[in-house]
Symmetry: C2
Subunit: 349 residues, 2 copies
Amino acid sequence: MQHAPHAHGLHRVISPAGVLPQPAQVIDNHMVCHANEMLIEVSALNVDAASFTQVKALVGADPQAIGAHMQGIVAARGKLHNPVTGSGGMLIGRVKQIGPTFPNDGGLKVGDRIATLVSLSLTPLKIHAIKAVHLAAHQLEIEGEAILFASGLYARLPDDIDERLALAVLDVAGAPMQTARLVRPGMRVVVMGGAGKAGLLSLYAAKRAAGAGGQVIGVSPFENECDEMRACDWIDTVLHADARDAVAVMQAVEQATDGEMADVVINCVNVPDTEMASILSVREGGTVCFFSMATSFTAAALGAEGVGKDATLLVGNGYARGHADFALGCLRESAGLRAIFQRRYAGGA
Amino acid sequence: MQHAPHAHGLHRVISPAGVLPQPAQVIDNHMVCHANEMLIEVSALNVDAASFTQVKALVGADPQAIGAHMQGIVAARGKLHNPVTGSGGMLIGRVKQIGPTFPNDGGLKVGDRIATLVSLSLTPLKIHAIKAVHLAAHQLEIEGEAILFASGLYARLPDDIDERLALAVLDVAGAPMQTARLVRPGMRVVVMGGAGKAGLLSLYAAKRAAGAGGQVIGVSPFENECDEMRACDWIDTVLHADARDAVAVMQAVEQATDGEMADVVINCVNVPDTEMASILSVREGGTVCFFSMATSFTAAALGAEGVGKDATLLVGNGYARGHADFALGCLRESAGLRAIFQRRYAGGA
């Protein structure tokens, strides 16, 4: 114990000294609940897409090997903080213990089911056993424990939505909320990686905000994903293109928008090198919001300068006030959206 | 030649195939002026601060070793694209040849002195000889040639401002322009790395926009830089703190603003790990704009989520319409600002 318990978890940082838990190399994952902490019995980890994809590329599409690699990261760092992608994910579990000074306005009780809304890249975690690895859902079912700091956000799990489905939605809840804030009626909106979970929710939020006079455009390099998007009544246009091919995407968006380009571009792609496609697809004066954890800061900043594009470039903030309720609300509102999520993340209807 | 000449320089990309010149590993720096290009005789390179600092840390504060390392990068990649930081810089020179289809609305002529406003990380460059390396100014005087693509931005150099001074200002012209767009009268603005050239210009632009009722706060870890800022009448408050120490900076800003925190934070620091200090210093609902090329995308995105801060996070776009005129205008307007730049970047008054 280096410090007294701190709201941002400074007391759990081992190395380097004096940094916050997220950038730390190693944090203390001793499962003792300090006065201002909450101890959670963990049942599932929802791994960030960029992290899961990187590990899968490294060790192969083998559930056991992926699980072992993730376990190795947690053993080394005290948290599921992928050293290559820098990203984490989130978790689901039951409240095991609540410290006496943990802020608990919501009346949370031991035994309640919750999901944490802060990244696993800063959450003290111990994995006792891995029970299953779900490749398509980027999920690990585990037996384990975790600590939530006093500043840590969480959501009590809803009764009316399947737990795995809720977890999948809450993990990316920032994207649809930020999209809703950026889009005005009549706007043209492009979502790169539109068929992923953040992408589909963002497309839905975009159409809700752009209205009938707007144009909502989903992009994917995979024909099966394009088919899935074509079946969604909230998506106006589907473009079959690879977001790493900046020039091809730019030309496709140009054609789809009669040369006007997008007012807003939301990037939810889980592979690197898609910054330029996003920048070239937005109009002069428009906004690009990067939610992909594979985004390179310099590629975005210098890319816009390199092509002389005066656009607003946003780092997609995973947290926005009310994002959990908004994202779950989208699912309650749209039977079509819920059916897709149910099929993908909760094993069918 | 892989392609016909393309406005974004696709025809110069060697590897990997099909990407734009900025993310490319290697580009063609054959100094032949294609139909839509401009050929420039280069006299000086203004290296991005993050790149210069990284090379200096690697080879030592030795002008010859730094010059040789930069020359090695250009020999390997065909451009001054630092493989570690991903960043470049900009150049100054004379127009040597203008291709017949190069867009030339401004009536540019062979022999005119210009500065390019696109990054060296995407500009075909050949260094014939290095004449001098200026450590404090991050500048290389060279004999060399470069190519500007049809989409490439440039500024004709002003007659009333020393060339080295103009170059230093134009290199970071995006920062003060974006600051001016973000700041409203009465706002509290924190500039991390406030004594650097982007920082000083941003502080000036912030005070201009915030007015007498606003509070403009400069941060630096160096006492001599703090003294320099204390002498500037457009800076209301100077904080002596290291932006890598997120908690210390947060507490200093809290004290300086009576707990209100900043409405806008501009990050112009040229070392890594300063994302959290910026995020913790802004108020809920405020805006952080990252101009540092050392910014980590994931540290910013996950950092805000990790502390539950609902703030707008911007990637500082190096280009904004009119940014060159705006930045040079700040220098013309303020004798104090101009004197500092003159002393630092143009060898005295």
